[in-house]
């Protein structure tokens, strides 16, 4: 508070008095507090989503066995668990942590602003998000349990309760998802406006750190894609509760219509969460290879291309849903096209590493793991984008393993990369490197052991969303069951290793080494503020003189050149 007071009085404005706990941490309009609120809520929801994965993976490996800590998984439970695991991990973990938490925390700091342009809207955004999380959690405990119609909510399964058996849960699920979108739309308006209008003097378009650009592009994509799904959600809600028939073919509706509305949003959504993760990886690998980002402008144009292309690929989710085969050809071409800009980004990152003086700190390890693991996810996607191959792979565990190889690097590895890198800024303490590395290897190795077996099982024809494979003689060969047990055991190991992270987090908060302003010798503006930055961030707002990635410039004494130093 001391800095805050001097900062305020130095500007001749009247100062805040001591703020109470509530106005400082709960109802704060400070972008950093809102960002941390998003992050902790996201971590909490991640624990729930992880626990759900544990419960249904146990059922798949050991069908009909009482799961320790959960009990017997009934078929209806199983449906609710897989549905809500998917929903939570994408909408309540990947989105809040990658887009909202890092976006809120970093954008004003990285562009040299004292707060978001609309601070009260920012607070409202988190409050709506919190409400959505509460609604979702409540839906598990209503009569019939949580929604069990899969996270894509295809009608008629989602529209008619005689099919999904969760009459209340499915409506609450829709309400929760709708509220969550509203929260991110409010947040996105803030991100874009702040990055455009509140930048420090001197910060031109090509001086903006990559993660800020990527979050801005992701927000625009989210805004442009979510409208049709919101329309679809309203229609589905009316089908469930008022008796309309938007998606009921018997009464003049069309169930495929939902799939179009859903995936028109759903596919750009993949890139909405991917871009922030690739952005923070760009910022991390430049710092730890002490090298300028290779081809900044090319990366930026690539991001724009990805954004545009991502709106033209959605029907590749529907190759077997009965769409016109000629349309399938078009979407095959666009889907294979979009792998080009993404592959280009990965090559650019590898080119950035080439010849750099690399330090393998924990954040750097996570960033490298992101590139390696995401590449596997991207390469396996090519098989699914080609309509001919997809007919065989559709709705198998191959698809499941593919998108976990994309979403896990994005949401989990991306989060750990970001938090281990910006923890010193957020809390003023360093995280423990040894524990960080134990946690890293204990997460990445089991992750591969979970999903490589699932690729194999998927290629052998194992279908998704099946409660008990012992009912299917073709899918219950001993080697298949062994692979399921291997995947589940690896999941248990991985979940156990997450406790290392929690211990490291709490221990570092308590006893970590003091970080100082700029522990990584990084160029971007957030490292010129105190750690943690006070309300208002700087006593005097910075001015920018150069781009964010001037590392190892020849002829300079130090190998970094902060953006705010005149020369």
């Amino acid at each position: 508070m001391a800095e805050t007071l001097t900062a305020a009085s130095s500007h001749g404005e009247h100062a805040h008095g001591e703020m109470s706990f509530w106005s400082k941490y709960v109802f704060s309009t400070d972008h950093k507090v809102v960002g941390l609120q998003y992050m902790f809520t996201g971590i909490f929801m991640g624990l729930i989503g992880g626990f759900m994965a544990y419960a249904f993976r146990m059922q798949l490996a050991f069908p009909g066995v009482e799961v320790p800590g959960y009990g017997l998984v009934s078929p209806v439970d199983y449906n609710a668990l897989v549905t809500n695991h998917g929903t939570i991990m994408i909408f309540w973990v990947a989105m809040p942590v990658l887009v909202a938490a890092f976006g809120n925390y970093l954008i004003p700091l990285m562009v040299g602003a004292d707060d978001m342009v609309f601070p009260r809207l920012n607070r409202l955004s988190y409050q709506v998000f919190l409400l959505s999380a509460i609604v979702l959690i409540c839906s598990f405990f209503v009569e019939g349990g949580g929604f069990g119609g899969a996270w894509t909510a295809y009608p008629p399964l989602s529209a008619q309760s005689q099919y999904n058996l969760t009459p209340l849960g499915s409506s609450l699920w829709l309400v929760a998802v709708g509220l969550e979108f509203v929260a991110f739309l409010i947040g996105g308006i803030n991100f874009i406006t702040t990055a455009m209008n509140s930048r420090a003097p001197g910060m031109k378009a090509y001086d903006i750190p990559m993660i800020v650009w990527m979050i801005v592009v992701a927000s625009i994509m989210f805004m442009a894609s979510v409208g049709p799904l919101l329309a679809g959600a309203v229609m589905l809600f009316m089908d469930q509760n008022i008796g309309t028939a938007f998606f009921d073919p018997d009464r003049g509706g069309d169930p495929i219509l939902w799939q179009h509305l859903f995936w028109f949003f759903g596919h750009p959504e993949v890139y909405v969460v991917l871009l922030p993760a690739t952005g923070l990886v760009a910022d991390i690998i430049t710092v730890f290879s002490r090298k300028k980002l290779f081809a900044y402008r090319t990366v930026l144009y690539t991001v724009f291309a990805t954004g545009v292309l991502s709106f033209t690929v959605w029907a590749h989710h529907q190759f077997v849903a009965g769409i016109d085969p000629r349309m399938a050809h078009v979407f095959t071409v666009t889907t294979l096209l979009i792998s080009i800009p993404i592959a280009e980004m990965m090559f650019v990152y590898i080119a950035t590493l080439y010849g750099g003086s690399i330090t393998l700190t924990t954040p750097m390890l996570w960033a490298l793991a992101f590139i390696a693991e995401f590449l596997i996810g991207g390469v396996t996607g090519v098989f699914l984008g080609a309509s001919g191959a997809d007919i065989y792979f559709h709705d198998t565990y191959f698809v499941l393993a593919h998108f976990h190889y994309t979403f896990f690097p994005i949401a989990i590895i991306g989060f750990y990369a970001g938090i281990s890198f910006w923890f010193p800024k957020m809390f003023g303490k360093m995280m423990n490197e040894t524990l960080g590395k134990i946690h890293f290897w204990g997460t990445v190795i089991p992750f591969n052991l979970i999903f490589i077996p699932l690729f194999v099982l998927g290629a052998s024809g194992q279908h998704r969303r099946i409660y008990d494979f012992s009912h299917f003689p073709n899918l219950s060969a001993p080697w298949q069951q062994d692979l399921r047990i291997l995947a589940t055991s690896a999941l248990l190991v991985m979940l156990a290793f997450q406790s290392v992270f929690l211990v490291n987090f709490v221990w570092s908060l308590w006893k970590g080494r003091k970080a100082g302003k700029n522990p990584w010798k990084s160029n971007t503006l957030e490292w010129t503020a105190e750690s943690p930055p006070p309300h208002g961030n700087w006593s005097e707002l910075p001015t920018v003189y150069r781009g964010p990635y001037e590392y190892g410039v020849p002829g300079r004494d130090s190998d970094y050149w902060p953006q705010n130093e005149p020369n």
């Binding site: 805050t4 900062a7 305020a8 130095s10 500007h11 404005e13 100062a15 805040h16 004003p108 040299g112 602003a113 004292d114 707060d115 342009v117 609309f118 601070p119 009260r120 809207l121 739309l185 996105g188 308006i189 803030n190 874009i192 406006t193 455009m196 209008n197 509140s198 930048r199 420090a200 003097p201 805004m223 442009a224 894609s225 979510v226 409208g227 049709p228 799904l229 329309a231 679809g232 309203v234 229609m235 009316m238 008022i242 008796g243 309309t244 028939a245 938007f246 009464r251 003049g252 509706g253 069309d254 219509l257 179009h260 509305l261 028109f264 309300h535 208002g536 700087w538 006593s539 707002l541």
Partner: protein
């Protein structure tokens, strides 16, 4: 620095950062434009869904459904267009002489309110004739799309009322007027599309 000083002219929190550069678009206008982008995509989703169902139907409009009031709505459409025009006049006057902006602004709001009320009257008549949310897929889409538009119209009228209040008290910033205009022009501009697609 907590620059939460309540400025008497504007009555809102002022930050330092966005006063350090001259943005192309004021933050309030940009925020509203982004909001309008979201809502435009919402309507695009509903209207394209409607077109898909309509083009896939064997018989359209569905049998036993009353005819939509095309002529009356055309007049109502003209009222809404005029309302948008009056808001533009208010904007022009505001730039020269603030006091003279009041009349066109209030007239614009009045015409907007007339539009909403007339839509409500029309709905009551249609429901009496047996055209409801569940009577056919035409009915479902009609009430969904027109209702969503009415919701936006009411919200935008609320924003205009807020603007009128601030104008009355002399607190209105031109960026606030511009943001409210963006919202109202969206409501006005969306309507002819809905009229063409849903009514005709």
């Amino acid at each position: 620095m907590p620059i939460s000083v309540t400025n008497q002219d504007y009555g809102r929190i002022h930050l330092v950062a966005d006063s350090r550069r001259q943005p192309l678009l004021a933050s309030s206008v940009m925020g509203m434009l982004l909001f309008v982008l979201i809502e435009a995509m919402l309507f695009a989703g509903m209207i394209s869904a409607y077109s898909i169902i309509r083009s896939g139907a064997m018989i359209w409009p569905p049998p036993d459904q009353p005819r939509l009031p095309i002529e009356e709505t055309a007049i109502n459409t003209a009222a809404l267009m005029l309302s948008g025009l009056l808001l533009f006049v208010a904007h022009r006057r505001f730039r020269r002489d603030r006091a003279r902006a009041r009349t066109p602004l209030l007239l614009s709001m009045l015409l907007g309110a007339v539009f909403v009320v007339f839509q409500g009257v029309e709905w009551v008549a249609l429901i009496r004739e047996g055209f409801t949310l569940t009577s056919s897929s035409q009915g479902s889409f009609f009430y969904l799309i027109v209702g969503m538009h009415a919701l936006h119209a009411v919200a935008a009228l609320g924003v205009l009322a807020y603007v009128a209040l601030r104008l009355q008290r002399g607190w209105l910033a031109s960026s606030q007027l511009a943001a409210a205009e963006v919202f109202w022009y969206f409501v006005v501009g969306m309507w002819p599309i809905i009229y063409l697609v849903v009514y005709l």
